[in-house]
Amino acid sequence: MSSECEVNYVCSCGKSMPLIYLFFCKYCVTLRCPRCLSHEVDSYYCPHCLENIPSTDAKSTKNRCLSCLECPNCTNFLQVRSAQVPTVRRDGGGKLKGFGSFKKVYYQQCSFCFWTTRDINQPDRESTSGPWVDTPPEDAWMSSVINYWRHLMQKEKVEMEKRKRQRRGSLLGSLGISDKLLPFSKLRGTFSMNLAGSGQFDENIVKSFVKVEASEETEPADESLYTAPGEAYDYATIPSRINQPCDSVYKSTDLKARCTHLMVKRSQRCRECEHNLSKPEFNPASIKFKIHQIALRFVPRFHIVKKVEITDDAFTKVQLSLTNPAEHNLPVQLVPIPEGHPVLKTLTGEVVLPGKEIVLAARDDTTQFDPENQSSEFDDDPEVVISRRLNKVTFTVKVKKMEGSEGPVRIGFVLRYKYKNLTPSIRPEEPKEAEEVLVEPVLTIVL
């Protein structure tokens, strides 16, 4: 299969892409591209330690795995390394007295770009347990701010409710008994106050709020930036700066190891019929799927056997191979694209399709390694069908470049075949003949 030639299938929405990216909805009996599907998050997991993380935990840690770190330079995983370091004995004045026995220290290292925590002058640790990343000091400030505004919000809500009640007037009020004296209203009041106090905030922090005023004058840049010769290695790269927006990283010593971002296992469903087309397994270490209706399993796949030069003088024979995904013999027919299809505008080649049906042999996984000669079983036109092997057929089509077209030759046709839904029915007492539905995906082939 040549990697330069492309076989694209046109999805029901009009977008065309190779078959490997498409799904097949067997309820709508049509191809679906990733854009025709809606996504749902199934579960979160860490790509390094492959641990499943419940969604509440993920939310509280902002979608980060607390036990794994990623390199700020290349975003690969950091691994703990140990080193033997001699203990240093110092006397009272801080002077170096001598070296003691060796002790083990730990630091983090990236195995891809060899970045270590020592590069940012982070001291080595003596134990592997405990968090490697300190919570930034701004976190406490930020949560105080958020809680303060929440408190204000609750206060406002309570006041509004009070005003509403006062406007409506109360029966008891007209009797002369104040709202506050009644037991229920007291409880009501305390309830809402409790809700407001759910987050603690420091009054001092709130008092330190300063209104920020914009000014035209800015701090002048450091003089050394203009005079000192800078080395490229001293400054952090742009991708690593973008990864750490909170810290305004400038030099490479400002980079910090971050907790690994969690990945998501998602299930996809068809937007039209709302059936699930892709549902992965729960276990993060597993790459299997519970439901996996990829187009490769339902739609015959074309390959271009050999790349040939196509001219606009005469028809050239191009060999294509077709693989049958179904476990029964599949007769297929290639027909031209109907008039008015938008794909017709992009075609730059004319194609003469084989008029007759081609029968594809069934896919049989048991005979994968000992192919028998099957060509005698099928009545093949020797001009069209060249060879057969298991469930694959190689045949020829004649292609000619359209006059006045430039660039790669693009031909298009429709593959017509019948799809049988062979999943067993729920009620075994009603054996139904499996319905055959006509499927006609449109293909474009770039030669």
Binding site: N73, C74, A83, F112, C113, F114, W115, R118, E231, Y233
Partner: protein
């Protein structure tokens, strides 16, 4: 000047299956695994002490060899077993038959490789000057015009063909040969060196050492 003078210092472990041709000098505590090809074609090669040269490494002092000739030479020598050294002077004609391309010059430019370098499996080294404490990971390729400082790391499959100098403690990594500087030099592989020095002689025949002290780098 003896073309085929192999000087192995005492303490070096050089397997007999390693193919060393030409004027090659190996320092103490260096370990050369079998199936290593060290060809001093364009001039002598001096390898420092404590180096660890793993299997299928090619260290070649290329001289004036063109790319095609080099490719042909390497392909020929890939599977051909090295000739057993008789120790004393092999006749020059026999030598010419072994090493089918013979350097026309009496003395060529020396290729100096420093101490405590680690050449992982399959690395291809043509660089003329290499410092100490470097790590060259598997299948990396260093071109002839490259010079390497101390403490560098060239990552897996990185090819550095152009004329350049890798400063001290440079790390070359990634498919696009990205670079960065690291704080510490890579640690010398003392544990591996000790282990291999003990274990390799049990399983391989070794070439005998014929020089007492570690040699000085030439030129």
């Amino acid at each position: 000047m003896n073309y085929d003078s192999l000087k192995i210092a005492r303490g070096a472990v050089v397997c007999a299956e390693a193919d060393l041709r030409g004027d090659v000098t190996v320092g103490t505590n260096t370990i050369i695994h079998p199936k290593v090809r060290i060809f001093a074609y364009g001039g002598p090669i001096v390898i420092g002490e404590g180096c660890l040269i793993e299997e299928q490494t090619v260290i070649i002092n290329r001289g004036d060899l063109s790319d095609e000739e080099l490719g042909k030479f390497l392909k020929e020598t890939e599977t051909r077993p090295p000739q057993a050294r008789s120790g004393k002077n092999a006749p020059l004609r026999a030598l010419q038959a072994q090493c089918s391309y013979v350097c026309g010059k009496a003395v060529g430019e020396a290729q100096n490789i420093g101490n405590y370098n680690f050449f992982e499996v399959g690395s291809h080294v043509q660089a003329m000057k290499i410092g100490s404490n470097n790590v060259f990971e598997s299948k990396c390729k260093l071109g002839r015009k490259l010079t390497v400082g101390d403490g560098c790391v060239v990552s897996v499959f990185c090819a550095l063909e152009k004329e350049d100098h890798l400063g001290d403690r440079t790390v070359v990594y990634g498919p696009n040969n990205q670079r960065r500087k690291q704080q510490d030099k890579p640690m010398p592989q003392t544990q591996q060196l000790e282990f291999l020095a003990k274990v390799l002689p049990n399983f391989h025949n070794l070439k005998k050492s014929n020089v007492a002290a570690s040699p000085e780098p030439k030129g």
